[in-house]
Subunit: 238 residues, 2 copies
DNA sequence: GGGTGTGATATTGGATCCAATATTATGCGT
DNA sequence: ACGCATAATATTGGATCCAATATCACACCC
């Protein structure tokens, strides 16, 4: 069999997220298919999937367009993630954590402590921290045993990263970013404590607040204060 | 142009929701296409879309299967809806309602009061109430001005109704059901009050709790008490 | 008699062809 | 010169054909 259409989806998604296809770029099936060296069929399926993910907008009769995502939209998506992960933490706490989840979370907490022990994060440590962080969140969602949460999150999986310029870390101010990670990782500890003690409401509250702190910080003039967490009040009205 | 593939999606979805295609039914592209009188292409697209919606499961190499949705899953989906609509109500309250939304919500509240004024709901009144209810919820979500909420809800749109046997109203006990509607509609009034007064946290709390009360009641032996709201504690562990 | 391998069949993924439609450009008439 | 109608073009949706793969059954061998 030839290239599977899943690969076309992946390829296009990556091109969008890495801004090889800039926001606003117009895409049609035939030119895209030719450029990727496949037929229209997998491209059609990919366009639909990416539209579903919120990365493409359909322009009826004129193809598709790479969606430009506003900062307000990203903040909105982060808030959605917050309530969903908050619910996950609550349900995980109420269900009780399995031994396997408990020990893996403990290991991840230790790993995070170790990564943050030094003075200022370098590239490699940043990468390791983010992997640890992703796994931590994934376990919380797993432990909720509620497939609807994963389903609801799937739409928001890529959207928050669609505008990397708005979300990019300020690498010139790595010491400030490092302090934010330290704060965020303290929240990991608190969530874990709440979960292993069956404190559903606390787990939910901390996790909901924490979502803002881990998905990335908005590079926004109004929001450069030390350890400021994005509040819904910062959203621009439309 | 022939039947659009959207119609195939709609047709199949309806067949699943109305249990014309029972849970567990195996579906393959070719027989389904022949049965519907279309080619494989729209069926392929429809299967993918319905898989995305959580109505079909892919059995690799053996086609698709109509998913059987457990009561626990439905309750999980309702809880997800609760936190998302709760967030929507909060953001609507914080953004402030437009005059158009205010007056339409007020009209819907009046309509609900009128429908519920009589003694016991008949079929037609039930239908009218549910339309009013759907519109009320849709406006709250609209007023949040957060597209991520709609995106997250889109996956859960149909799932809660996939198992109608578990969700069916007990028409033999219509007076009891009517009392539940009266309670739920009081919550509508409270959410509206909170929203027009900018009370984000109250709007969120009431709406979150209210989601349980409007999506339908689980026909579950453990949950037949008067005005009982589904709590997350009722979920069966797995 | 059981296990393994091979072949038949079911099923999906991709390519190409055709039909319908929406958008856009062009030209004609006023 | 402007507006409207018409034609050209771009674009998508559906149908069909071909290729690859996975499942399943059956037969053969040990």
């Amino acid at each position: 069999m030839q290239k599977t259409q899943t690969n076309v989806v992946t390829t296009l998604r990556q091109m969008i997220l890495e801004e090889e296809l800039a926001a606003g770029t117009r895409l049609a099936e035939i030119p895209t298919a030719e450029k990727l060296g496949v037929s229209r069929t997998p491209v059609r399926i990919a366009f639909r999937a990416l539209e579903q993910e919120g990365l493409l907008t359909k322009l009826p009769g004129r193809g598709y367009e790479v969606r430009s995502v506003s900062v307000a939209e990203i903040i909105g998506a982060v808030e959605v993630r917050g309530v969903l992960e908050g619910l996950a933490a609550r349900q995980a706490a109420e269900n009780g954590l399995s031994d396997a989840h408990k020990s893996e979370l403990q290991a991840l907490l230790d790993l995070g402590d170790e990564i943050l022990a030094g003075d200022e994060l370098n590239e490699a440590e940043l990468e390791r921290y983010q992997q640890m962080n992703k796994r931590f969140h994934d376990i919380v969602i797993e432990a909720a045993h509620n497939p609807a949460i994963q389903a609801a999150l799937s739409r928001n999986e890529h959207l928050p990263f669609a505008s990397s310029s708005a979300l990019a870390f300020d690498k010139k101010q790595m010491s400030k970013e490092t302090k934010r990670f330290e704060f965020a990782h303290q929240q990991h500890h608190h969530v874990f404590y709440a979960m292993i003690n069956g404190l559903g409401s606390r787990a939910e509250g901390i996790m909901r607040e924490h979502a803002n702190a881990t998905l990335g910080y908005i590079n926004n003039p109004r929001n450069t204060d030390e350890l400021t967490v994005i509040s819904e009040r910062d959203r621009t009205r439309n």
